[in-house]
Amino acid sequence: MAKPIIQMENIEKHFGNIIALAGVSFDVVPGECHCLLGDNGAGKSTFIKTMSGVHKPTKGTITLDGKPMHFDSPRDAMEAGIATVFQDLAMIPLMSVTRNFFMGREPTKGRGPFKRMDIKTANDICVESMRAMGINLRGPDQAVGTLSGGERQTVAIARAVHFGAKVLILDEPTSALGVRQTSNVLATIDRVRKQGVGVVFITHNVRHSMAVGDRFTVLNRGKTLGTAERGRITAEELQDMMAGGQELASLEGSLGGTV
């Protein structure tokens, strides 16, 4: 198996007297989709925020390409090649697709006081990147607010890939989407993975994770319960691990196995 791009070992994160993460280990190798599953409150959000530089871990080590790393800000993590697409997508509805695409990293031309945004290049790159992801924009100046949820998700992913993400963290990208949009996003994940990017797919939907995942890690009550490879675990087992076992099993019985 390829060497991991990023490796996180025994990460702990305490907020005051609350232990949000109590020893989480996780790694990502290039070109895989590593699913991080967990129920609400399992610590998924805290964990990815630690991975993307928003929080600093209380304990534990982060190794990037074999070297220990400390992220002081999301910007640090981004520069190291770790891109995160948060649930809010970091998209601003009132701004155009291009302006969102390059937000914080605008291409410029000219020097000194005449340094300005290279709008034409930005527009071209944006339209081209979106087309590569299978979306045709009405125009690069179209406001993001007019895009559907799936399209916005795709803009955010295309943006991360364009800026050279080695690890792409997707925080519940399918949780608010319809069936068709979900399959579009899953297809996008597959495309990104084939380019050699390591994708971290966070979800609580086992079926979505089974559709694209190469490896599966379950997070429960701030701890990882181990990592399984594709084909070595069933959807039912993942579901049970997420819920912590017994209670859901009995509940599932009474609901006829539909959960």
């Binding site: 009132l94 937000m103 914080g104 007019t146």
Partner: protein, 368 residues
């Protein structure tokens, strides 16, 4: 990736008409407003209003307000308010007056000092807002009173009990920077235009319009610079992003704190510029300088298409918003209407502008 690069035409997207694309420009409302107000005064006002001297008459107050409004608009696009800019005009006026009259400093020192003080207060405003997370509305409301009070007390100290500091004109007379901040520009050109009969003259042959008041040039230059910054620089993109969604912007690597603090400083410096120009123009400064200007500036910015929630707006819009303002204030004196209708008109404009902006925002974001 190439397999998906073919062009897929989505049959559900209608082609947008030119009109509806135009509707998405934030400054459209203000331009329409200028047209409406012009038509109104063409019918009701004395024809003198639209002669060259009439235009200069309403452009001068428009420019003084407009410089504030452009600063206010940029700050509003960045997602914050500054209610202290009116008081800042008085405060900066005091600093400037004290520098030139009390301490006898030349303009080349007095003007930078004034800007530095204004920028410091702006930065303080911004730092408090960002540090505490309180709404800028309330923090700058506090500074509205603090600065007004400090200006009063300071003026009394500087003048032994009076609230007016005189003698600015004598103090700046002959300074090489004076023509940049007061009087009229292009005097020679206008004298020549009068000679060849293009500009009306008084009986003694002097042109009725001696030149373009410098504040109008500052106003135009500032509007162009602000528009360029907003639409064509990375910093401009950061302003929109910071105002649109602070979290999203900072998650994308936009230095939101730096952007917002610099905007507070810029707005304060706009107020200082207005203070310098008006104090030199009047030859004195007083504690009521800039009274209520913060609201007028925000109204001009809103008429110009700025959303109260930030992230959307335009400097050119604020430019036209301020011109509407000047036309109405001055224009009513050319008509038979009671001048105090001005305030009613202003409130009405504000209400229409807010409703219109709200509608535009829904169109732009595709909300239903």
């Amino acid at each position: 990736m190439a397999d998906t690069a073919q062009i897929i035409v989505d049959e559900r997207i209608k082609k947008e008409s030119f009109g509806s694309r135009l509707m998405q420009r934030p400054e459209l409302g203000a331009i329409a407003g200028v047209v409406l107000v012009t038509i109104f005064f063409l019918f009701t006002a004395d024809s003198a209003m639209f002669t060259l001297s009439g235009i200069m008459n309403f452009m001068t107050p428009a420019a003084q307000l407009g410089i504030l409004a452009i600063g206010a608009a940029m700050l509003m696009i960045g997602g914050e308010f500054d209610l202290s800019i009116g008081s800042m005009v008085a405060f900066a006026g005091l600093i400037f007056g004290a520098c030139v009259v009390t301490f006898g400093l030349p303009l080349i020192i007095a003007i930078p000092i004034t800007f530095v003080f204004a920028a410091l207060v702006g930065a303080l405003n911004g730092a408090i807002v960002l540090r505490t997370g309180l709404p800028s509305f309330i923090v700058t409301l506090a500074f509205l009173f603090i600065l007004r009070g400090v200006s009063l007390v300071g003026l009394k100290l500087a003048t032994d009990g009076s609230t007016q500091l005189r003698g600015v004109r004598d103090a700046v007379e002959g300074d090489f920077l004076t023509p940049l901040f007061s009087g009229d520009a292009f005097g020679g050109l206008f004298a020549w235009l009068a000679e060849i009969g293009l500009v009306e003259t008084f009986n003694n042959g002097a042109p009725k319009v001696p030149g373009i008041p410098v504040e109008i040039l500052w106003f135009i230059a500032l509007a162009l610079a602000a528009t360029y910054i907003l639409l064509r620089t990375p910093y401009g993109n950061w302003i929109f992003a910071s105002g649109g969604d602070r979290n999203a912007a900072s998650n994308s690597g936009v230095p939101v704190r730096r952007v917002k603090i610099s905007l507070f400083m810029l707005t304060a410096c706009c107020a200082a510029l207005v203070a310098i120009i008006t104090v030199m123009d009047a030859g004195s400064t007083d504690a009521r300088r800039g009274f209520m200007k913060e609201f007028e500036a925000i109204i001009a910015a809103v008429i110009g298409g700025c959303l109260l929630t930030g992230g959307y707006g335009s400097a050119i819009g604020a430019f036209f918003g301020a011109i509407i303002f000047g036309m109405v204030v001055i224009g009513l004196s050319y008509t038979n209407f009671d001048q105090d209708w001005f305030q009613v008109f202003l409130g009405g404009m504000l209400l229409i502008a807010v409703l219109f902006n709200n509608y535009i925002r829904k169109r732009v974001t595709g909300e239903r």
